[in-house]
Subunit: 220 residues, 2 copies
Amino acid sequence: MATSTVENYLKHILLLAEGGDDLVSMGELAGALAVVPGTATTMVKALADGGLVAHEPRQGVRLTVEGRRLALNVLRKHRLVETFLVNVLKMDWSKVHDEAERLEHAISDEVLDRLDTLLGHPATDPHGDPIPSPQGKLSAEVYATLATCVAGRPLRIVRITEQSADFLQFAEQQGLQPGTELRVAARNLTAGIVTLRDSSGATIALSLTAAGKILVEVVK
Amino acid sequence: MATSTVENYLKHILLLAEGGDDLVSMGELAGALAVVPGTATTMVKALADGGLVAHEPRQGVRLTVEGRRLALNVLRKHRLVETFLVNVLKMDWSKVHDEAERLEHAISDEVLDRLDTLLGHPATDPHGDPIPSPQGKLSAEVYATLATCVAGRPLRIVRITEQSADFLQFAEQQGLQPGTELRVAARNLTAGIVTLRDSSGATIALSLTAAGKILVEVVK
DNA sequence: CGCGCTATTTTGATTAGTCAAAATCAATCT
DNA sequence: AGATTGATTTTGACTAATCAAAATAGCGCG
């Protein structure tokens, strides 16, 4: 079994490779892991020996097929655990990241699957980030809804999944249409109300049901 | 923060001290932790430096007040996690121990509290072992019920918490009275049925409600 | 072409935890 | 008492992961 240090290196290489090409520099990697560059070099060479990454000296590092498989499994654990902590344990989302950072290395694949079932196979975590599928697909085409996103993150509306004229008209009046950028200001699960704030600073209140019809993506 | 190795040493010293006096020999400790005796000696001296245990050379080791506090916290995490895995995730109880062994070192005190609330502040884990209170009381006087115990463990009835004549008469007819030794043969939560097997090998079926009225302790 | 800047790699040292095997202690048994 | 036995402690060595600081390789620029 990979140590949790190894899992962390793989996960960060995956995340850093997402934006831009898939070759990650030692500087970036060391920064993300909060270690000095020399440490990253040493570890990456060890990972390369184990067949988990390919190291191009002085250029950077890239995941092998096997390394990517492991990295996606860790990322899946991280995001499902975050979803569990927010949706089931009602934890404040600002605290869940650190918690998930430790739990992602401690839970077995079986617990992972059972959590997934308990949560109803969510497609994104509460930040709107996509959860890799069990088969290791990480789709950027999966969208969160306004009902499942935590407050704070800048979002952009991509689709309204409700065709009734009433609803569409209401949405349009509120300025809620594909392309609109906004963020969730507050989310009250017990009251079933989601409050939004658009770029002009105006707030809009929506029922949880209505919010669930509006697909969004995270603005980078 | 104590490393998970330190937490494991403390937890095992606590558990080994339970039966008999509170001085634990290096041999016992090394055996429980699956390390060679020399390793246990080295670690125990380090723990003594940190004020977590008192080491009587050639005699054994005992927890300090602070060490006991930490050990009870770890044990509480272990047993609540086990309860969560069995009651919420419906995991097979034979698998939960190893899982909890890892998770007990990964969850924060906040998650611990929220799990406790989610589970309704259980007094014992699914094995019938008492869960230490948040204040660090580990009561041997807390009993599990036949409704909450997993199958397999040898149990002894200690009390029937139902005074109606009907119920007591039924219990007596089935040979279910304080002192009777038996074990849970099967437990079907969805059907709400618990099947018992007494020392003669006979089986008795009970509703979950009825089983919940019968307090038991684990036979050592 | 050669110089210097910056990122990367190498080197040497450190910490936590471990094992194997040798040394030591204490208690018992003639 | 003296020898034997069994547990405990000590010693020396190892692995994984890290840092600090020195060495090196590329790159662009004059």
